[in-house]
Structures are given as C-alpha cells and as structure tokens.
C-alpha cells in the first residue's frame, strides 16, 4: 500500500523545468530520503505532494486517492500530509501546546494527544512556552510533534535539519525517525546531505536537474548507482577505464567482477571505484606512485597515479603511512561486483 505517490509529475517556473516527469511512491510507514544538489527540484516535489504547489502535468496521490492532476485538486488541508519546514514555522503567537494542538480536532482527547506527542519528542514540560523561548532543536521537535499530532499518512521534511549544527542534527534526526516509526507514518526527507540521506532512508531517491536518477535502498544506490552523477553525488568515486568481457571488466589494476551497463554499446567502459575499495602494498613491484596524501584525522586519503597516468584514490587507516613518491601496487577489494558505465562518446 502506498502512502503517497506522484505519477509523471512536471512543474515549471517560467522557462525552468523544476520537476520533470517524475514518478515516485512512498510506502506505508516507509522512510524515503530525497536527495540532490540545490536547485534539483526536490523541494518543489515536496510542495507538489503537500498541495502547496499545483503540478503542470501528472497526478499526485495520497492514501490511494488522487489529489492533483487531471482536473482534480484537493487543497493541502484535506490531504493528510504533514510538513516540517527548515525554519520550523511554528506559530509565533501560540504556545507550544497550542501549536501542537493546531491540527487536532477539538473532539475527544485533544489534550491527551498533545501531551503524548510532547512526550514522544521529549518536551513534556514545555507546553506553556512560546516558540521564541525554545532552542532551534527544540523548535524542530515541536514542529514534528505538531505535524504528527494530526495523524497524517506521511510527513514531509523540507531540509528540516539543515538549520541545526552537526551534533544536534544527528540527535534530532534520530528522535524524528523513532517518532515516525512509533506513529507508523511514512516520512519523506528532503536533504542535500548525502550522508544524511544514506543514514535515514529505507530507500534513497536521487534527483538531478528536475529528474529522478536513482531510486533504491541506500546500499544499492551507493554501490551500484544508476548514473555517474549519482555515483559522485553519493560519495567520492574515481572512474577507471576498462574492457568489458561478459560479467567482468579487465582494467589496469586487474580483472574485476562487474555490474555491467546495459547501455554499453561496445566493450569500452569505466568502472567506478570508491576510495575505501582501493588498497595498495608498497612491495616494490608496483607500477603506481603515491602522488598526494590528505590527512583526515582517523584516516589518510591517498591519491595514486597508475602507469597509464590515470589516478585512483585510496582510503587507509591513519596507521598506514606512506610518503608521496612511494612506488606501490594497487589492489581492489570491493567485496561486491563494481559498477561499470559505458564510456561517454
């Protein structure tokens, strides 16, 4: 059962196509991370789902009901879709408890529901306060409680943790995920932070230039991305030329089992290697040279120049120390077939 879905949705602003023929659904209780660079249309997609924008083409569905497109229009207040905004958007003239109660019907148990939600977000004693008396993290939690109080089918988070500093961010996020699971509501998290997307989502949807480029579980998106853009957006990646032969790709650093690109017209491909998949030994039988080294605290990121001149990067624990100029032999230890892409013409 889907909580919410968009089918073939397009939205333009003037000549810009913000969302371009996107189809995506969120299952009941599922947490979906919607990630992409700024301006990719992810927030627009969220507003289309919430009914805060009207699609130019395509349809929007919530809980199996068509709510936009094809002559239908269900306004946001009847969609049963909650939104948590980056600025929390608490009503400044209402107390915390009145904010949370805003979307709850007056009939039966409103006060209990408000208390229950405030407990859920760990703010039991704060009901009588005004929003400006709370910290940023607390405001975000009130916004979450307020959205959940109305028992929506799905809650949309528009960069909801973007204004919080790193430490607070993780804790508010964990709170949020736990609260959503507890309430059984689906969640859609819009973010431009790929680490957050991989950590939060049951599935990850990657957008670029208004189009959806990849939808899938985080591991799949990370290890077998649908496009080069998705590959580089979700993490550091190098592309090494190789020749495809069946389910294998022959490269300068060995023959690697690969997920092949169906679009590949001929045998010439590039395989994606992430730094943590690349190791090396300095046993003098090398062919490759350490050309740069970047200290990252717990680890070193080495840049290795191969005999052909191509470079790959290798992430090593800080205990593995080699000077720039050391001759090394490169090995790939991916633990899974590597992704190969057709070589661009």
């Amino acid at each position: 059962m889907t909580a919410a879905a968009v089918v073939g949705v397009t939205r333009r602003f003037g000549r810009t196509v913000a969302v371009d023929d996107v189809t995506l659904e969120v299952g009941d209780g599922e947490l979906l991370a919607l990630v992409g660079p700024s301006g990719c249309g992810k927030s627009t997609l969220l507003m289309l789902l919430a009914g805060l924008l009207e699609p130019d083409a395509g349809t929007v569905h919530v809980d199996g009901r068509q709510v936009a497109g094809g002559g239908h229009w269900v306004p946001p207040e009847q969609r049963s879709v909650g939104v948590v905004f980056q600025d929390a958007a608490l009503f400044p003239h209402l107390r915390v408890e009145d904010n949370v109660a805003f979307g709850v019907s007056r009939r039966g148990g409103r006060d209990e529901r408000v208390q229950q939600l405030l407990e859920l977000v760990d703010l039991s004693g704060y009901g009588r306060r005004y929003p400006h008396e709370l910290s940023g993290g607390q405001q975000q939690r009130v916004a979450l409680a307020r959205a959940l109080a109305a028992r929506p089918r799905a809650v949309l988070f528009d960069e909801a943790f973007g204004n919080l500093d790193a430490g607070l961010r993780a804790s508010v996020r964990d709170h949020t995920v736990a609260a959503l699971r507890e309430e059984g509501a689906a969640g859609v998290f819009v973010t431009h932070d790929q680490a957050e997307a991989l950590a939060v989502g049951d599935r990850v949807a990657v957008m670029n230039g208004g189009r959806l480029e990849h939808v899938g579980v985080p591991e799949h998106a990370f290890h077998a991305p649908a496009s080069r853009f998705v590959a580089t957006f979700l993490g550091e990646a190098d592309f090494l030329p190789g020749t495809q032969a069946g389910r294998q790709v022959r490269t300068e650093v060995g023959v690697l089992p690969a997920v092949v690109d169906d679009d590949a017209a001929d045998d010439a491909v590039d395989v994606m290697l992430r730094p943590h998949e690349v190791t090396f030994v300095a046993d003098g039988r090398g062919g490759a040279v350490v050309s740069a080294r970047e200290f990252r605290g717990a680890s070193y990121l080495y840049t290795l120049r191969l005999a052909s001149g191509a470079t790959v990067r290798s992430l090593q624990p800080h205990t593995v120390e080699h000077a720039v100029g050391t001759e090394v032999r490169v090995e790939v230890q991916a633990g899974h077939p590597v992704r190969s892409f057709a070589r661009p013409a």
Partner: protein, 575 residues
C-alpha cells in the same frame, strides 16, 4: 484506488471563494482600462478632430518635457542627497537624513500654491525686488515649465531619496570598498560601482516620480503648463466632452505603460541584487571643516525650501485669514470640506483594507496559478494615473446608466453626475495596491511556511485567516488603513474629475482657492492636508527608530530592517 472528484463541497467553498474574490477584484481594477480602450476605438476619428492634432501634439511634447525635467531633477536631488547622507558624516547628519523625507507630506499642489503666491507679482519676493531695484527691474517669469518642474522635483524627490538610500545602505558597502582598494577615488567608485548597483532602486524611484508627475493636474496649471492630464481636466470639466477626454486619457495611459516598460528594462538585472552578498552597512566617511558645513547647508537648504518655508507660510495664512469667509464671518466651507475629506478617506480605507486582507490571504492559501495571477492583476491599479482612472470609471458608469435606462430602472442619472459611492469605488481601485502591499509586507516577515504549515495541519482557509493571518497581520492592517486614508485625503485629480457638484474636499478647496488666486484662504485646508500627511512620515520615523541598532529586537519582528523600510516606502507611495 479511489479516484478524486468526491471532495466535500462544504470545504471546497472556501477555495472557490478565493478565486471568485480575486477575479472580481481584478475585474474591478481592469474594467476602467478596458472601458477606455473600447471607448477610444468606438469613438473613431471625430474626437481627434475636436481636439485638434496640433493641440494634442503640443500637450504631448510639454508632458514629455516636464517628465524629463522632473525625473532628471529628482534623480539628481534624491540620489545626491541619499549618497551624501549615506557615505559621509557631518554635523546633524542623523537628524537631517530623516527630515529629508518630510517633503512627502507636502503634496505638489500645496507646495505649488505657496510658491505661486510667494513668487507672484504681488508676493513678497517680487515686492522686495521692486523695492530694491525699482519698479521696472527685470524678474524671471514665474509661470513657466522650469518652475513647475522645480516645484514637482522638490515635492517628489523623497521617493528617489528613500529607495536610493536603502539601496546604498544595504548593498554598497563591500563593492564600494572593493572599488576603492582597486584604485578608484570616491567619486569614480560611486559612479562606476554604486550607481549601477543601485540602478534598480533608482529606476523604481524614478518611475514613482514619473507616474505622479503624469497624474498631476493642479501644480502644472498654477504655472501655466499645459499637459495631457490638464487637457483631460479641461475637456471633461469644461466641455463635458467624454470622447475627447477618452482619447487624451488613452494617450496618458500609453505614456504610463511605456514608463513602466522602461523601468522593467532598467531593472532587468535586479535579480542579481547584491543584497545577499553584503550585509555590512556602508561606513560613512567623516567630513571636516568647510566641507562638513557645506554638506549640512545643502541638506538644510533643501529642507527650508521644500518644508520650512511652505509650512511657515501656511501657518501664517491660516492664523490671519483662513477662518474668516469673504464677508468676515466664520468659514463653514472649510469645516464641510474637512468632513467630506474625512468621510471619503474613512470609507476608502475601510473598503481597501477589507479587500486587501482577503486578497493577501487568498494569495497565501491558494496555490493555484489562476488565483495568484488574478491577485497580481488587482495590483495594476497603481500604474494607472489618476485622471486616466477617473475617465475610465466615468465610461464604466455611463455604461451602467445605459444599462439601467434600458432596463427601465431609476437611478441611472446619478451614476454619471457623480456620487460619493463611485468616488469610493475608484479610490479603492487606485489604492488597493497600497493596502495590499502594506498588509503583505507585514505578513512577509512571517515565513510563508507558516501558512503552509497551518494548511497541511488541516486548517481550512477561513481558519487560517482567523487564527494565523489576522493575529499576525494586525499591525499591518492598521498601518494600511492609515496610509490609504492619508493618500485619499491628499488625492486631487480623481476627486476633481468625478466629484458630485458641490462636493468639496480639502484638496478640491485648495485647488479652487488657488485657481482664484485667493492663496491666503487656501492656507488652512492646505495646512490640514500637510498635517495629516505627516502621519505616514512619522510611521516611517518610528520604524527607523525601532530598527536602530540600540533597539532590542522583538521576537516576532522581521529580521531585515532595511527591507522593511523599503516595503513601507513602496507601500506608503501606493506602489
């Protein structure tokens, strides 16, 4: 899957209401313009013949010349004063930089009245000149276009001044500093970096000035300048020639639209507004010695000519003669006119504020493009000069009379002879943009996500209006009411063209007495207008005080004081 189409009709009502309201308001605003266009086409060539091509040509040329003079004058005076007070420190700068806004409270037809009197043959200036140089001494002619342009410049420059100052203060600091470090002197840095950056604001200010100049029918007549708007007034009030007035009104409308297009073009780079690049305010340079006093003298001279002398003159006239009628008895005409002005202003303010609140609300709760487009259309009333709007309204009313007559219903006659209700309706069209922008400015400091949040929590639009928008926009509603009422008090061209016979307002009375050269008699009504018009300026001052660094920020207030000020200026001028 349940397919839609089964929404409960009760809830849908609120949304249809938003659309109906927005479309109706847009129709009300656009109707006079449409009527004009229909009128000019159906009128054919005959009204042109009555007007005479040479006459129209002459009026068009003098209108364009006047526009050029006033726009150039206000850009130089307003822009120059803004740069002087933003970039330099001199004695009294803080006080004078506020006071320089005050001429906004002295409308052109009041300032013109004062100088028409002071510079007249019998006035003090020429009397002194004759006493000093003899009766035959040459004195420059007063009833000329340059004098009219100077008067309009002095009363309109604050538009440019305020917008330019806001632009300089909010955006100039870093680029100006960068230009100086790259080897440019202060003047060249200002011309090559600051002026281009402020171009959108300067263009916006110049547009306001140009539209006001285009609307003016009184000031120019004091000084014998025959513009198209004066032509409209003569042709309608003098000869009741509606088709000819229509032709002239369409010409003025075309001029206004061209001005709007030019401003759009000049603003084309506005989206690169550097407001985001620079948050540091411009650090003014201290002037020393003679230069410091010269800077102060320039500002005080402008203030003296534009505010102090006129107000002092009006006060003198008021205390000596105004309350006595021609025969020496108490002047009841003043009281009647004041009551009429107040009545008209209050009604216009009430209508505008209610409409503005509903429209702001509709635009915020309804995501559909039709609603937003319709709301945008209602704001176009500001671009239509007063005389044009008046003639357009006249055509609409005449059509209304024809309809009533055709249906055999009574009351058609009063539609065209003028009625207070018609005046209120036209004022509503004229000032809707002012009310809307003021209310919207107040709500703009409230994040749009607040409205979205309320809606997504299941609140119907009516509840969003009641529990979110109204509580948060309350102060904006009050300010909008004040601004609209004041502008309605100052308004002259529309009431002059549309008033019922014998219906005098303060502004009409000033105009009539001035036209009869009974300047002293006009002192009291003019002074009353100036005093009322001080209210928005005082509001502006209050805002500046509140936004001063020392003031503690209130929790709900907007974060960007400069932006707020800009909005109030735009709102305060009806744009």
């Amino acid at each position: 899957m349940r397919v839609g189409g089964q929404q409960r009709p009760r809830r849908r009502g609120g949304r249809r209401g938003a659309l109906v309201l927005a479309v109706a308001a847009a129709g009300l605003v656009l109707l006079p313009v449409v009527a004009l266009l229909v009128g000019v086409v159906s009128g054919g060539a005959e009204p042109w013949q009555r007007l005479g091509v040479s006459g129209v040509e002459r009026q068009t040329v003098s209108t364009l010349a006047l526009l050029a003079l006033v726009v150039a004058g206000t850009l130089a005076l307003g822009g120059g004063l803004a740069w002087l007070t933003a970039a330099y420190r001199f004695p009294g700068r803080q006080v004078v930089s506020w006071l320089l806004v005050l001429p906004l409270a002295v409308p052109g037809f009041v300032l013109g009245l004062v100088y028409a009197s002071l510079l007249s043959y019998a006035g003090p200036v020429q009397s002194v000149s004759r006493a000093a140089f003899g009766d035959d001494a040459w004195f420059p002619p007063v009833r000329t276009m340059p004098v009219a342009a100077a008067v309009l410049t002095l009363s309109l420059y604050p538009y440019v001044y305020l917008l330019a100052r806001a632009a300089f203060r909010s955006s100039a600091a870093t680029p100006y500093g960068a230009a100086r470090t790259l080897g440019l002197g202060p003047v060249r840095a200002a011309l090559r970096v600051v002026v281009p950056l402020a171009r959108p604001s300067l263009a916006a200010g110049a547009l306001l000035v140009a539209l006001e100049t285009l609307s003016d029918v009184a000031t120019v007549q004091y000084f014998g300048v025959d513009t198209l708007s004066v032509g409209i007034y003569r042709v309608w009030r003098g000869q009741f020639d509606r088709p000819a007035a229509t032709v002239l009104a369409v010409l003025v409308l075309l001029l206004a639209l061209s001005l709007l297009a030019v401003e759009r073009w000049l603003r084309r780079g506005a989206r690169y507004s550097p407001r985001v690049l620079s948050t540091a305010p411009l650090a003014p340079v201290r002037l020393h010695g003679g230069r410091a006093w010269a800077a102060a003298a320039v500002c005080w001279t402008v203030l003296g000519i534009a505010v102090v002398i006129p107000v002092a003159t009006l006060v003198t006239w008021s205390t000596t003669t105004s309350l006595r009628g021609v025969d020496g008895s108490f002047d009841t005409a003043f009281v009647t006119a004041a009551a009429n002005s107040a009545l008209l202003a209050a009604q216009a303010a009430a209508v505008v504020v209610v409409l503005a609140v509903l429209l702001v609300h509709a635009a915020r709760v309804d995501a559909r493009r039709r609603v937003r487009a319709a709301v945008q259309a209602t704001l176009s009333g500001y671009a239509v000069p007063g005389p044009v709007l008046a003639i357009g309204a006249l055509l609409v009313l005449a059509a209304g009379r024809d309809l009533l007559d055709a249906a055999g219903l009574p009351g058609g006659g009063t539609l065209v002879t003028g009625s207070v209700a018609a005046l209120v309706a036209v004022y509503a069209v004229r000032f809707l943009a002012l009310g809307f922008t003021t209310v919207e400015a107040r709500l703009a400091s409230v994040s749009p996500s607040l409205t979205s949040a309320a809606l997504s929590l299941g609140a119907a639009p009516r509840r969003v209006l009641r529990s979110v928008h109204l509580p948060l926009a309350r102060s904006g509603v009050a300010v909008a009411a004040v601004l609209v009422a004041v502008d309605a008090m100052k308004e002259l061209p529309i009431v002059l063209l549309l008033r019922p016979v014998g219906f005098d307002t303060l502004s009409v009375r000033v105009w009539q007495l001035a036209a009869d050269s009974r300047y002293e008699m006009a002192g009291l009504p003019a002074l009353a207008i100036v005093l009322v018009a001080m209210v928005p300026v005082a509001l502006l001052f209050r805002r500046e005080l509140r936004d001063a660094p020392a003031a503690a920020p209130a929790p709900v207030e907007s974060r960007d004081g400069v932006d707020d000020e800009l909005r109030l200026v735009l709102a305060g001028t009806g744009r």
